[in-house]
């Protein structure tokens, strides 16, 4: 049994009007016969049928406009038995739905109270940012920038003046505590997190997250020793070409290598939520950053795999600066898909870290130190770093972890490809 439908005769055709039937019920039709003429927005077009059979019933009358796909006729193929017209009105409903849907009552939002031009301070975006950081009221400043705007210099001058006047300047990190969630916890956070809560509250938040981790996550730990000679050599030559402010920290090639290795072992990048392993596509590397006033926080470098080493360095510098200033964005607080903790600065040889839930892995970086190293039967001295991986055994097995560390090691042997 075949259905002859309103054909689509162009990408922009949504409906057509039947002008005439060239057949009547009972007529025998052959594939490619013209059986109807349809009016589109463009012109009348003859329409062919794509099967052999007998016209059983015409469902649409000339003059009717129906959407593309509407059944217009039933064609009984030779194999079919004649049938009762129980489903004859298939297209009828569509055929009558040309009327416009009832228009939703459009409700105008209440107009905001008009702002008087006098209240609006004209200041550059940079000046506004500086003023907010130093708690300066823009209204108190005299504009000297272009178009009578307050520019950064006006704010800086006010900051200097305030310093000279009052000796008790509060340190910038001592902003009022806010009720934030624990580091890396998946709670909704405000647009920008400004200032950290007092050390005790932060301690409690860390305690909560870490206790949950150790309670729920069956950790497995792996470690490998990495010959850092090539990476450090590469870094040294890179830095030799750079002025101080463009130099890379040793952690940058490490982060890049971690990001690239995660592309190859994507299982470690993601979450365990709702009893389900949920690997993530974006590679957002959480960096454990300790705060001077105590505690630590692990905001993320977003899409770290897409950044080159210079961009990564810039992102890291920006992130650390803002972390210590207490100016993180909410996405950075919650988006980490894996965490890297680097305790090498403090001379620690290897790290067995605690995973931040709901992440499923944590990479630990130890101090790079000269050690005896045997290769090809020869003993030499090499800068060696111990990389470790803490994995969530619910999500992955030691095999993936081992593959990750192996990949990381290989990446660090080819620093020019980082």
């Amino acid at each position: 049994m075949g259905e002859f439908r309103m054909p689509s005769l162009g990408a922009d055709m949504e409906s057509g009007t039947l002008l005439e039937w060239r057949v009547k019920p009972g007529d025998r039709v052959k594939r490619r016969d013209i059986i109807a003429v349809v009016d589109t927005d463009k012109a009348a077009i003859e329409v062919e049928v794509y099967e052999d059979g007998v016209v059983e019933e015409l469902l649409v009358k000339p003059g009717e406009k129906v959407p593309v796909g509407t059944v217009m006729a039933i064609i009984r193929s030779d194999a079919d038995q004649p049938r009762e017209a129980e489903t004859k009105a298939v297209g009828a409903e569509q055929a009558t739905t040309e009327a416009a849907p009832p228009r939703a009552q459009k409700k105008e939002p209440p107009a905001p109270p008009p702002e008087s031009p006098a209240e609006r301070v004209k200041a550059s975006p940079y000046a506004r940012r500086l003023a907010a950081e130093h708690g300066i009221d823009l209204k108190t400043l005299v504009p000297s920038g272009p178009h009578e705007s307050i520019c950064a210099a006006d704010v800086k001058q006010a900051v200097e003046a305030a310093k000279a006047a009052g000796p008790e300047e509060p340190p910038p990190v001592a902003a009022p505590p806010r009720a934030e969630e624990a580091p890396a916890a998946a709670a909704p956070a405000p647009e920008e997190v400004s200032g950290w809560k007092d050390p005790e509250a932060m301690r409690r938040a860390i305690a909560k997250a870490m206790a949950r981790s150790k309670r729920e996550i069956p950790h497995y730990y792996l470690q490998t020793r990495v010959d850092m000679r090539r990476t450090l050599g590469w870094l040294e030559s890179e830095n030799r070409r750079r002025s101080i402010k463009d130099r890379l920290l040793p952690v940058v090639p490490l982060l890049k290598a971690v990001a690239m290795s995660l592309q190859e072992v994507p299982e470690l990048n993601g979450y365990w939520i709702d009893d389900r392993h949920q690997p993530q596509e974006a590679i957002n590397i959480g960096i454990a950053i300790s705060l001077r006033q105590g505690g630590l926080i692990a905001p993320a470098i977003l899409d770290a795999d897409l950044l080159g080493v210079d961009e990564l360095m810039a992102a890291l510098r920006d992130l650390i600066t803002r972390t210590r200033d207490g100016r993180l964005k909410s996405a950075e607080m919650t988006a980490a898909t894996i965490t890297v903790t680097n305790l090498g600065d403090l001379g620690v040889e290897s790290v067995f870290g605690v995973i931040y839930p709901p992440q499923v892995a944590l990479v630990g970086i130890g101090k790079t130190m000269e050690q005896p190293w045997a290769e090809n039967g020869l003993l030499g001295v090499r800068p060696v770093m111990t990389a470790s991986l803490s994995g969530d055994h619910r999500a992955t097995d030691g095999l993936q972890g081992a593959r990750f560390l192996d990949t990381l090691n290989r990446r660090l042997q080819e620093p020019s490809k980082l």
């Binding site: 940079y126 920038g145 520019c151």
Partner: protein, 335 residues
């Protein structure tokens, strides 16, 4: 960046640098050939290929009839067939006769074929005004071509780039358009004796400064550097960035500069409306809005077809004085 010692530097014109690059490419790779109107016996409309015919013969220094669409299309076909053609179009205005081939074919083949057919073609053309050539030979449409995905657009402003971009462009698997500003051909400059290929996708910081970033390319860059020198004497330190490539745009470089200087001026010889300068301005807004201490400003060509009379043409183009005056206003502070 390392300063070469004087004995390894030499003086030459931008034209010489282009010609050296052509000759070197032809010597290094026998698939390379040059094709265009009057490139052979005449030596090139701007003499960029003078005397190359003698060394390489008429097969490889190939004069064409005045058929821009035909020979640009033939360049595309030859590239598809394994050659590495360099097609020269006399001026950017004439390139519009080949716009179909550039935009509908060169830029689309790789994509339309689902990655099967790349077009390793280089098209060079003269661009820009300042030589009283009036409204059909003077426009700067570099940025206009930069609108098109699928091609690379580079505008060498320096001798180093005129010498070094061609070879890199020839190594690129995709079409590269090289815009040589006609006002630069006679410019003399210093070039290292061993100057060679340079990258074609990074912007370059030409002059560091703390007060404002001037973002420019092609001949306008020379004016920007001159303006920066004048301003420096007044205590205003302008940072000058040469975009070098208009597609892709190396936004990281200019955004990082603006985030340090907090002000930006774009000098663009194209018309202002819908220009590459508009694109750069938008990206600054998107990328470093909260670092801006003044509105982004632009100096572009006046929105007229290029007039012939010298004083009118000069008034239509961005000039050193305009740059200096505008920057004085932009960085005006407590002093």
């Amino acid at each position: 960046m390392s300063p070469s010692s004087p004995e390894t530097m030499r003086r030459l014109t931008y034209r010489d640098a282009v010609r050296e690059a052509l000759a070197e490419a032809m010597r290094k790779d026998e698939r390379v050939f040059l094709m265009g109107e009057d490139v052979g016996r005449y030596g090139g409309c701007f003499a960029a290929s003078k005397r190359l015919l003698e060394e390489f013969g008429p097969e490889r220094i190939r004069d064409t009839p005045l058929s821009e669409s035909g020979f640009v299309g033939a360049g595309i076909g030859a590239a598809l067939g394994g050659m590495r053609p360099i097609v020269e179009i006399m001026t950017v205005n004439f390139s519009l006769l080949a716009a179909d081939q550039i935009m509908n074919t060169a830029a689309t083949y790789l994509h339309m074929s689902g990655g099967q057919f790349n077009v390793p073609l280089v098209i060079r053309m003269a661009t820009g005004g300042g030589r009283q050539l009036a409204a059909q030979h003077s426009h700067c449409l570099d940025g206009w071509y930069a609108h098109i995905p699928g091609i690379r657009v580079v505008s060498p402003a320096t001798h180093e780039d005129a010498r070094g971009m061609l070879w890199t462009a020839l190594q690129d698997p995709d079409p590269v358009l090289i815009f040589e500003h006609s006002g630069l051909y006679n410019l003399e400059g210093e070039l290292a004796a061993d100057a060679g290929p340079v990258d074609i996708d990074r912007a370059k910081l030409c002059r560091p400064g703390r007060d404002i970033s001037i973002i420019s390319y092609s001949a306008s860059l020379i004016k920007a550097l001159e303006a920066a020198e004048i301003l420096s004497a007044e205590g205003i330190e302008a940072e000058v960035i040469d975009l070098r490539s208009l597609r892709p745009l190396d936004e990281a470089t200019f955004l990082s500069s603006v985030s340090r200087t907090h002000r930006a001026l774009i000098v663009d010889e194209g018309w202002r409306s819908g220009s590459i300068s508009a694109e750069i301005s938008a990206r600054i807004m998107e990328g470093v809005f909260f670092d801006l201490d003044a509105p982004v400003e632009r100096l572009c060509s006046a929105e007229v077809p290029m007039p012939y009379a010298k004083h009118m043409e000069a008034a239509a183009l961005p000039q050193v004085d305009n740059i200096v005056e505008l920057i004085r206003i932009m960085v005006k502070t407590h002093g």
